[in-house]
Amino acid sequence: MTDTVKHVGLPDERPPSNIVGPVAWLRNNLFNTWYNAILTVLVLLLLATAVPPFITWLFVTAHGFDATSQECRAGGGACWGFIGEKLRFILFGTFPYDEQWRPLLTIVIFIALLVGSCDRRFWKPWLGLVWAVGLTAVGILMWGGVFGLTPVENTLWGGLPLTLILSVIGLAVAFPAAILLALGRRSNMPAVKVLCVTYIELIRGVPLISLLFMASVMFPLFLPNGVSVDKLLRAQVAFIMFAAAYMAEAIRGGLQAIPKGQYEAADGLGLSYWQKMLKIILPQALAIAIPPLVNTFISFFKDTSLVIIIGLYDLLGAGKVALSDPSWRGFYRESYLFVGVIYWVFCFSMSKYSQKLERDLNRSHRR
């Protein structure tokens, strides 16, 4: 009896430092075997030689945003004067200089729509209306011609708004199309099934570049004389077609993971095909398909830069064109670094958000 009392009274001791703490962590993760120890040392050496000069170039010896190209060429690190000078061109392309508040507002609207749509509490029917209003506003801002706005040809559009228009509108239209294609591919109706399979396999079987070329070069050949379809629209359609085929396959993967019993339970309750799909099957299938879907989203966001081959200048294209100014030639590191950071911020946010969404959905659905 007295023994137990004494034992209950013993205080908790901290674990010895070879189990927890930074030293133990180092030993367990970086120096746990002799070859890992060598690798660790090698990597540290590599970092030590590469990182400090980069930091120096990036910040210490760099020229500020107001530097001229002559100052930069005289020597030193990164020339942020290039970005200072070309910022508006890289972001907005050849959009008329005095009207560039319009593409800026477009970027703001897009980001607001995207960030707002991330919150699952807003996933209500009215969100579709908000998007419709937002996209209409974008159209008015970019085209102009109403409310006293100067009309701007879409051949002058460029930079980040073009990237956002192509990718966001592209993915927003391609997503429902992809759902239909994925459902069609698993349909019991042979004609629908063959049509969907043929479409998906045809589109997936050609490179995106060739599809863009076809849209810009071959497609007009099939049109009667005098009829022309806007180049941007053709590129947009090509993107939608391509994205839809890829996303359809990602969604099909999700659909295949849904047990047969879910279909039978929905059928047994008397739900119609569309009720069954919209209420039971798709919510589960899409949650499962989030990782491959986000993979597709991210790669398409970046693939929009391929429009440069048909003469449209998106963010990357504008960054490249900015370099062709004779007085600023040669500052490609600064240009691509800047553009790369913008792409990275968007893609990393998508990735982070998708991880959060996956966690949230899993929390409630755990079987």
């Binding site: 019993g261 339970a265 008397g270 739900l271 589960q284 659905h365 755990r366």
Partner: protein, 258 residues
């Protein structure tokens, strides 16, 4: 309630709700249902038993067209089951089904599982559907779990929710496809109790089950199937005490004396 008193009280209406005539079905070359003739009256409680692969699940799954029959006619609640999708949906909303593996919708709460079909198929207002759902959830004694997700419940609880989900559609017939086979032994009773309660309330039930105790205490008729045919059907009393065919006798000796 004693078995005798219970059966004495139970008077069938004589009104027919299901009629199968000469129903045949094949899976490829395999003849899974052979000339099934079956008539079910309103309020009747039928237990279907037989060795595995005998076609008993297939038969009751034909009654709400989860399986398609290829020959013969099935008429449920006055509607013949054909390829007509509208008719199939009409039959399905009158016929509840409980599955071996529950098949609850994992992305919806227990309450949402129960209100989904009444709202979308019966077009009931949400509040009314929720009232009905809570009533049935209380009846299967699980109302306090209404806002949990199926994954958070035990097997027995999930199966009780599945029964409540079917009842929310106020079906005229309930089909049970081995409702206790996937349960841990200690959970079988809570599900059977709910089913017994349902039977006492006069629900028309067809049950594929190996629970012979359940068959003895609530069934009006026991159907024995083997190799795709109905071999024997009788009241539980004479079925268990005086089986007529050798195949029935063999089956009963196998399941009762182990």
């Amino acid at each position: 309630m004693s078995q005798a008193a219970h059966q004495a009280q139970h008077v069938l209406s004589g009104e027919e709700i299901i009629r199968c005539t000469g129903v045949n079905k094949w899976y490829g070359e395999f003849h899974v249902l052979k000339n099934i003739d079956l008539s079910v009256q309103k309020g009747e409680r039928i237990v279907v038993c037989g060795p595995s692969g005998s076609g008993k699940s297939t038969m009751i799954r034909c009654l709400n067209r989860l399986e398609e029959h290829q020959k013969g006619t099935i008429v449920v609640d006055g509607i013949e089951l054909t390829n007509n999708l509208k008719n199939i949906e009409l039959v399905r909303r009158e016929v509840g089904m409980v599955f071996q593996h529950f098949n609850l919708f994992p992305h919806l709460t227990v309450l949402e599982n129960c209100t989904l079909a009444p709202i979308w198929v019966r077009k009931k207002p949400k509040a009314e559907a929720e009232d009905i759902a809570m009533r049935y959830l209380k009846r299967v004694r699980i109302a306090e779990q209404a806002h949990k997700y199926p994954g958070q419940l035990s097997g027995g609880q999930q199966q009780r929710v599945a029964i409540a989900r079917s009842l929310c559609m106020s079906p005229k017939v309930m089909l049970f496809d081995e409702p206790t086979s996937a349960l841990d032994p200690e959970m079988v009773k809570e599900v059977l109790d709910v089913m017994i309660g349902l039977a006492e309330d006069g629900m028309t039930m067809l049950c594929v089950t190996h629970e012979m105790g359940f068959a003895k205490s609530v069934a009006d008729r026991v159907i024995f199937m083997d190799r795709g045919e109905i071999v024997e059907q009788d009241t539980p009393d004479s079925f268990f005490t005086n089986p007529k065919s050798d195949r029935t006798r063999l089956f009963l000796s196998q399941i009762l004396n182990h």
